[in-house]
Subunit: 383 residues, 2 copies
Amino acid sequence: MLQDQTFLRAPGPTPIPDRVKHAMNQPMIGHRSPSFARLFADTSERLKPIFGTSQPVYTLTASGTAALEAAVTNTVAKGEKVIVVVAGAFGDRFANVCEHNGYNTHRLEIEWGRSVTSEELKSTLKEHQDAKAVLLTYNETSTGVMHPIQQLSQTVHQYSEALVLVDGVSCIGGVPGNMDQWNLDVLVTGSQKAMMLPPGLSFVALSKRAEAKLEEGNPSFYLNIKAYQKQLENSMTPYTPAVSLIQGLQEVSKMMEEETLEHVFDRHQIMKDMTRAGIKALGLPLLTNEEDASPTVTSVRETEQFKPDELRSLLSKQFGLTLAGGQKELKGKIFRIGHMGYCSPADVLTTLSMIEIGLQQLGVDIELGAGVKAAQEVYVKHV
Amino acid sequence: MLQDQTFLRAPGPTPIPDRVKHAMNQPMIGHRSPSFARLFADTSERLKPIFGTSQPVYTLTASGTAALEAAVTNTVAKGEKVIVVVAGAFGDRFANVCEHNGYNTHRLEIEWGRSVTSEELKSTLKEHQDAKAVLLTYNETSTGVMHPIQQLSQTVHQYSEALVLVDGVSCIGGVPGNMDQWNLDVLVTGSQKAMMLPPGLSFVALSKRAEAKLEEGNPSFYLNIKAYQKQLENSMTPYTPAVSLIQGLQEVSKMMEEETLEHVFDRHQIMKDMTRAGIKALGLPLLTNEEDASPTVTSVRETEQFKPDELRSLLSKQFGLTLAGGQKELKGKIFRIGHMGYCSPADVLTTLSMIEIGLQQLGVDIELGAGVKAAQEVYVKHV
């Protein structure tokens, strides 16, 4: 292993581009200064196309879980019924947030590794017509499943008055937000996934419909969106924001604009296809079907020939490669490859080539280079 | 003004040392990795002497206000009575946090610019014997008043069973924490003041007495200390932490250990004395008495000859110097000089010399160099 060399391929945090590090090394500025107001006005504006909204996007100094809590506690009155689609650890997290806050929480449990269907959601909506919100996970990080948010949102709006609250933490920035077009009422993301920043910021946008519900919420003091709303008018935050991360956010936004969002989203699709083709060529089982597959993270199942956690440990020691393991019921049963944010097709090839070596060292019957070749073929066809 | 040169002398955020920037530029690491666990075990341990406690110190990815909210909501049952000493904008913030969370909040209002006395606190305690907690601001950033926390804590414990919850945001790291010795039940600080880091982290420590009250609290999901407690056993955090800031925290802690905490605290005392001597020598009125004066921030009143906000604006344009203005009832009436964290006696001299020029340019009748000279004399006597 080359000293100091690391390959961070967890599904968040993700590597930080040098340009962004430089931006975060700028002199610190006061958060009540005109310089900060200019910076924050700019970053708040640049987040809008990433979310696919003309509504304001609020920046919280907190990780994604806080933004999930903000989403529901600001827009749904305490004690009301909410439906949470739980198809993995982060659906479970969203449900835990609701239960903790005293909501009448109905969990629509989906087997881990597939997406919820509109039919399933429809029948739950009919059973729980008093639900005030439906909480969805856009991309379930723990399984690598991307839910069909556009259809699900349509289904909710067709059969109920409930708000659609979407956890987009592990994909926004790598896939379209389309918040306005898809009628999402709250969309949330974090800084440390497809947004190419260190963890520490999260972002929340509300539809006009969700804004109209703000009076009904019981948020904590720190997560009260009305306070953020009021301060955003002055391009400020109500409490001291993570200034250096916001300096980085400006640079990240510029990078995404230079690449163009269309290319960013394409790149994530290509990386997904390359990763899946490579894994399949090695004869390893993928956790998810093609149509459910996430553009930001791919889960690979164990076989009788290897234990995912042994592979991860071996590759970490040998190359400094970080892959993620399984969470909760998938603990020890899968490994996950993150391919989001500051990650390229070249990085996918590198990752696959290391995985092949690790597998062979563990005695798995694979042909060295076969996964890389399949991924290369996908790449060559795409470009 | 030299391009890119700035002098950030607000009472937070404060400048970031180069070593700390370098530390924050290290490769990103996964927050569930052994590398992160080693890092976090180390920083959590190194925070203890800064807090003056053998109890665990919890790291929140959020700004100081969230930590204030965590302090009270985790340890006091909803609806119970709390006493909040309000002697400035941050006492007011602490009271707002309590009111928002449904506490029966008694404000002990103190005129802005002086500290509360033990006598005043004693009579309030006698009137409100059912108070479950007394909320104190160690250093009131908005006025530059340091409250006599040791005596106040003693008074609370002498006359009541109430917990002592202390907002140490704008001083911990620059003055002794002494949490165990002074029987403070909760002590809170932020990263961006005397801790020499960018904003984005806050820290909370609980006494054993406060820990025993955790079952009574109603914290939000994100600020539930029990979740942090459980994860700290594995040197982890329950939700994705601001990894880069924690990388910086390790370096900051090393710097403070190398300087020694004793010298760090001395340095802040000297900077306070230099600043006050300089301002007095210029004939400007200080907001606070000597015995109330904060080692981290000094407030200077307006005179008939100048408007503080004009001085601030002039110095910002001319030198890139950031001074803070007044908040709320002191808006426009004072300016505040931050001298905490990565700030030296040399920086105080620079600041005073720029202030002198600004004052003369505004037509104030001062002698150039007189403030600097008085500060130099303090310095020379001290070292």
